[in-house]
Amino acid sequence: MTDERRPRLAARAAPYLLVAPAWLWLALFFVVPIATILSMSLMSGNLYEGYSLTWEFGNYAAAIGTYWEQIGRSLVYGACATVLCILIGYPCAYWIAFRGGAYKNAYLLLLLLPMFVSFVLRTISWKAFLADEGVILGTLKGIGLLPEDAYVLNSAVAVVFGLAYNFLPFMVLPIYAVLERMDHRVVEAARDLYAGPVRAFTRVVLPMSLPGVFAGVIMTFIPTSADYVNATVLGGAHNTMVGKVIESQYLVNNAYPMAASITFVLMAVLLVGIFSYARALGTERVMEASAR
């Protein structure tokens, strides 16, 4: 009996042993920091007297009460930037995947090229780009298309455009990956079955590429709503996003518990948002409705 069981036990344990390093990695770099921040968010005290875990749930009430505006603004900016990324990124991915021919990889490289420049530098260059007398506004004002006092910098528009610019590749790549793998004959089948180019796109290509859009939305919405560089560089004082608040609470005010609880509120809001989005989009019913 035991003779028979021993190898079977080893065989059953093997998969767990194989994934153990991955679990360890996750535990070390995901679970531990989260647990640290979670306990920090429930502490009270200050930098000089030290912090102690007093289950201070009031931190959360204070975080929401004080910073709901910044949290809301972050979500709105993130959502706008994500929509902008879809509107620009989808045609871009479609074009590379279906029309790129032999140069697909070259186009992808072009798309990724800005990523080789530091994120902060890129954002700062947008500042020059969008300046009141800069390349765009200066020219438009020069030919009289814009009034002299028009501005973009230090406005929500500048932040959203900056965010969309910086995170565009995160939208394009997952959509491209899906479109590139798509069997082109499925599109031809739609054309063969009396669908014009537009119908073939809306009934077949678009629904089949939704998983890529879904991945792209997650990969842009989360980092854009948590970003603070764009808001700081392009948004001015009135467009602070929650990322900036967390940063200054941590690094300027040293109010660690407050910073931790804002972080958690943001995380919770994003998780709820993503899950309801997944439920709405990921279910088969939505896909079937699009088949009609």
């Binding site: 499925v186 031809e188 089948a189 739609a190 054309r191 063969d192 079955l193 009396y194 079937e288």
Partner: protein, 392 residues
Amino acid sequence: MESMTEPTPVGAAEAPPPSPDVPAIALEGVAKTYRSGREEVRAVSRIDLEIAQGEFFSLLGPSGCGKTTTMRMVAGFEDPTEGTVRLKGADVTRVAPDRRDVNMVFQSYALFPHMTVFDNIAFGLRRKGTPADEIRRRVGEMLELVELSGRERTKPGRMSGGQQQRVALARALVNRPSALLLDEPLGALDLKLRQSMQMELKRIQRDVGITFVYVTHDQGEALTMSDRIAVMNNGSVEQLGGPRQIYERPASRFVAGFIGTSNLLSGSVADASGGLVTFPAGDGGAVCATAEAAVGATVEVTVRPEKIALHTARPDGAGTRSRVPGTVREVVYLGASTHYTVALEGGGPGGGSAAPELTVYTQNAAGTDDGPVRGDRVWLEWSPEHSYVLPA
């Protein structure tokens, strides 16, 4: 009735009543050259074909001979470089695929993975604006025809290859196109399923009476299913005819070699009289063929393996039958029949060339004892009408 927003496709059955002798599909001097950079590939060169209504027509040929390209030009996915494509007489050369009254069954099925079987089959009808209750009825009929009733809510990804194949067929057939184009639709199936689907396809084609254009590189499949076959090679049609004609009277060496196993023999005519020519083959043997040729001319004949009789001794009788001696090189026992490979003796009629080998199929009737074995000397015999002389 079609909705007003979706015009009737070109060549549709509802258009002016077509006379039965207008071909369902006509290709007139159609050619296709693919260009990529400086490279040019002549995929199809000036094909002329007329495919009658209700016909089961096969395009047969080796890989890369242009079958798919020809089919895609009929469906509208490729623009011909030259020539005209007609559907029921109407020129559709520059008409988009969604405006042509033909439907295609793709080799890979190309089912819509995000839709149920029902939605897949209903796709074409919905695009044409067919009322919902009629769609339900016609899709139901189709599912019955392909024996998939009750599976309408299934996604294609959860079906077997054969089932997906039938969904693809139903999705095209439900539109009642004037012609159905099938590009190696059975290519991905195993032999047994393939054979039962061949029967199935033939039955469906008879039942619905729609023109089928069938692409295959499997000669057995083409022979069993088709009314007519176009054998293609290097972008042009080598021979056009019924299965029997193609099999028994190949128009070229290529067709003879491509269809079935064929034995090729050539030599210079030693005797010609009364519509019979004779040339020597093997060591003391002779080949007779019903043909007209001058003495001294070189002729090439093919003999089908099942037409040849195998003897252990020199058969006697009149001199009008082909008799060739040889040595058994290979014996393959297949149950109902046995396949022999026999090497001719004496270096063959070609002189310098290696000794030709002939393949012989014999039926294993009840009571016969074991036939010749490897290394045995045998005589092959067949009647002159089975020596088919290839056109020079």
